[in-house]
Amino acid sequence: MDDVEQFVIDYLRSRPLAGSRAVGLNGETRLMESGILDSLELMSLVSRVEQHYSFNLPEDEFVPENFETPHSIAQTIKRATSSRK
């Protein structure tokens, strides 16, 4: 697991309500299905990673398949930040 993925997991664990849902949270946990992410939490997560990594998530990257798991979110962040450079 790399730093970006760890950042996403740590952020999700810190959220209100993560509680029992976040037990066993790992890179492959399916976030929408497990109830860890809903539309409100998703917007908070996107704002947080944009702020932390100083980038704007391209609109075409903000799609369900990129937010299925912490791993896919980390891949999305890395793709978006590398294309910025």
Partner: protein
């Protein structure tokens, strides 16, 4: 003003006038008005066969789909009362609503029915998979329609819509057939809905905005499109879907419009068919509307105002040419048939610009009252021989005698357009054995709670988890601070001013 009809006739009349026009579309499937009427008729016949009588409540708790909307129309055909319940609510809240409304029948998803408390004696219908102890919708559809459905009056109860209650228990707002019909027909005429319109159904069914989606379309023959639920979390997908389905009208909360404006890639997803965006439920920031005006130059916008107790009672069409893009949006003028008063703290009607008063509303959309509540006399009052609803909102007139919203006089707030009584969250916190006192405040756009712990040590995460079992997720405070002592004012009440300062300045 068109003549009003009871809601049970909306779909049958649409089926008579436009039998083969599309009524409901979801993905690759859909129903014409004739098919929707037929399906709803069978659901209604099943309810009658089960012994449901006019006025009996039928709870509906499932994700939005063609099936659940057909069931709503079927409930109305049987003369029963629709009680839509948010399927995302925690079990304790669903149970609180069911206990309060005592439904004769519960129509739900298989998941909801499996989790349902066994103590409810209601007949159960599953709209998807079969569940032990419940009829499936497939079995219901095999029932022959009955020719004689109950006849109903305009003042009969059609809906119970549950909103957050300050005492900790959700309260049911009673809407008559006339209440919903008056709004739906007014909106259809005012905004010129027609057969060619494609209306996006984005409001949850337990939210009063959905009455526009279901009944203004049926009144005008417009088609209602249901987006995949996941799209409401992903603005680009929602915008792509709107473009593909050639959506022409949407009625939603400003929070969703903000998501679409900021992240919907509107410049690419041009939404060329969109002609009308109606919004309500919360204050729309001028900056957001200004952005939308630029992104969607062909679209007309209107700000609709009204608590669930009055449905929409005033409205403002946004004037692109003359609005300065900075001033707060007006909530406009009363809808046809509606009267408003502004009453100051001394009980005197305010008639001058610049003086705020509580907004009182009278007219056909004013609800019958609260279900089994002692709050009716305080909220629904007789004045000069007219029945008024005290909205609890403050407003004033501007230069053009349009109403400008000023805020609440109590502890009710809006989170993404949903009503939140801070008292309900405080009650949820106080139901934890370790909490001695609790106060919840709005800080920025979020909720912050302060609790004084009793003898046990409490953690914020534990209390958030406790709340999440009792109130919807959007009502769980993002931050809960545990205090050794709670500040009190001279009257002995919790000093919310001190807490607000603590929340804002750390």
């Amino acid at each position: 003003m068109p003549s009003r009809r009871t809601l049970n006739s909306f779909v049958s009349e649409a089926a008579r006038r436009w039998p083969n026009r599309p009524a409901l579309i979801e993905g690759n499937t859909g129903l014409t008005w004739a098919e929707l009427d037929h399906t709803a008729g069978r659901v209604g016949a099943t309810l009658v066969r089960f012994g449901a009588k006019p006025g009996d409540r039928v709870a509906l708790c499932a994700e939005k789909s063609i099936q659940i909307i057909a069931c709503i129309h079927g409930v109305l055909k049987a003369g029963c009362v629709c009680v839509p319940i948010d399927p995302a609510s925690p079990a304790a809240r669903v149970n609180a609503v069911l206990e309060d409304c005592a439904p004769a029948v519960i129509i739900g998803s298989s998941k909801m029915l499996r989790n349902l408390d066994g103590s409810f004696s209601a007949v159960r219908i599953s709209i998807n998979e079969s569940v032990e102890g419940a009829q499936s919708l497939q079995e219901v559809m095999a029932v022959e329609p009955v020719s004689s459905m109950p006849s109903l009056g305009l003042t009969d109860l059609a809906y119970l819509l549950y909103t957050s209650g300050s005492t900790g228990k959700p309260k049911g707002v009673m809407l008559s057939h006339e209440n919903v019909s008056a709004f739906a027909t007014w909106a259809a005429v005012e905004f010129n809905l027609g057969l060619e319109d494609h209306v996006a159904s984005v409001a949850p069914l337990h939210f009063d905005l959905s009455t526009f989606d279901l009944y203004s379309t049926a009144w005008s023959g417009a088609a209602l499109y249901i987006p995949p639920g996941m799209h409401l979390s992903f603005p680009v997908r929602l915008a792509e879907w709107m473009a593909a389905q050639r959506i022409s009208i949407m009625y939603t909360v400003p929070s969703l419009l903000a998501m679409i404006a900021e992240r919907g890639d509107i410049r690419r997803n041009k939404l060329e068919q969109l002609r009308l965006l109606l919004f309500a439920g919360e204050v729309c920031p001028p900056r957001l509307l200004s952005t939308l005006l630029d992104l969607l130059p062909q679209v007309e916008f209107a700000n609709l105002y009204g608590p669930t107790e009055t449905n929409v009672c005033t409205f403002e069409r946004i004037d692109r040419e003359h609005w300065d893009r900075v001033s707060p949006l007006s909530i406009g003028v009363p809808c046809d048939g509606t009267r408003v008063l502004l009453i100051d703290d001394g009980g005197i009607a305010v008639d001058k610009k610049g003086i705020a008063g509580e907004l009182w509303v009278a007219g056909p959309t004013v609800a019958l009252g609260y279900w089994r509540s002692d709050k009716n006399d305080a909220r629904f009052i007789q004045h000069d021989g007219i029945r008024w609803c005290r909205t609890g909102d403050y407003a004033e007139y501007d230069n053009d005698r349009r109403l400008v919203f000023h805020g609440r006089r109590d502890h009710m707030v809006k989170i993404r357009g949903q009503r939140v009584e801070l008292g309900e969250i405080e009650s949820a916190l106080l139901s934890h054995a370790g909490v001695a006192e609790a106060a919840v405040l709005v800080v920025g756009e979020g909720l912050v709670a302060f609790v004084r712990q009793g003898s046990n040590r409490l953690s914020s995460a534990e209390l958030q988890e406790h709340c999440a079992g009792r109130v919807p997720r959007y009502m769980v405070p993002a931050e809960i601070r545990v205090l050794e002592t709670m500040p009190h004012g001279s009257t002995g009440k919790i000093d919310r001013v001190v807490l607000q300062r603590m929340a804002e300045y750390g």
